[in-house]
């Protein structure tokens, strides 16, 4: 059974476009459901060895990386 992890991202700090871009990139390893208004986020890992929480942490870093890249461009 696929486990899920639910939490939220503070949208005062994370750019919505970068979040959406990151969700597309993470599409192969997990399902991510994101509520644009509340910032609530739910991650369902496809891989039994990698927990949804771990993927979420990677996801947060990835979003920051995308924001950095967009800023540089």
């Amino acid at each position: 059974m696929m486990e899920s992890f639910e939490t939220f991202l503070n949208l005062k700090f994370y750019n919505i476009d970068s979040i959406e871009e990151s969700i597309e990139d993470f599409g192969e390893v997990c399902d991510i459901f994101f509520d644009k208004c509340s910032g609530e986020i739910k991650v369902i890992s496809f891989d039994a060895e990698t927990s949804s929480e771990e993927i979420f942490r990677e996801f947060c870093n990835y979003v920051l990386g995308v924001m950095k890249n967009n800023q540089v461009i």
Binding site: F13, Y14, R57, N61, M67, K68
Partner: protein, 135 residues
């Protein structure tokens, strides 16, 4: 500042009046390789940075290095702001000087050349110097 040894993460509370959000982002970008970072709190009152080391990295070290990075970027930002006028002047000079030099060079050429400019064009246009493509 809270260190949670049992859950292996550090919470750093930052006053945005001391370190601007821009500075916090810059410091966070540097730590993307070393730690999992999550930003929370209120951008106007209190920024909370959660740092969770990726590998064997002491929480105290992570916290101290992040604080140093904040200070580093705050200083960098203030230096950029302070030297902004000088940088603009230098940029303007760098962009305009070649143009000025070009104008001066053109003036010199005009002064030195006293022959008939049509002669130059007539030589360039001469069909004697032309080589067909086939050859």
């Amino acid at each position: 500042m809270e260190i949670h040894h049992e859950d292996n993460f550090v919470l750093i509370e930052i006053n945005p009046e001391i370190y601007l959000l821009e500075v916090v982002y810059s410091a966070a970008y540097v730590f993307l390789d070393r730690a999992y970072i999550r930003l929370d709190g209120d951008a106007d009152k209190k920024i909370i940075v959660e740092l969770r080391p990726k590998e064997d990295y002491s929480l105290e070290q992570l916290k101290n290095e992040f604080n140093n990075e904040l200070l580093n970027y705050a200083f960098h930002k203030s230096q950029i702001e302070n030297s902004g006028d000088i940088r603009n002047i230098l940029m303007q000079r760098a962009l305009f000087i070649p143009e000025i030099n070009k104008i001066e060079k053109d003036d010199l050429l005009n002064e030195e050349f006293s022959g008939d400019p049509n002669e130059i064009f007539s030589l360039e246009d001469s069909s004697e110097n032309e080589v067909p493509w086939e050859e």
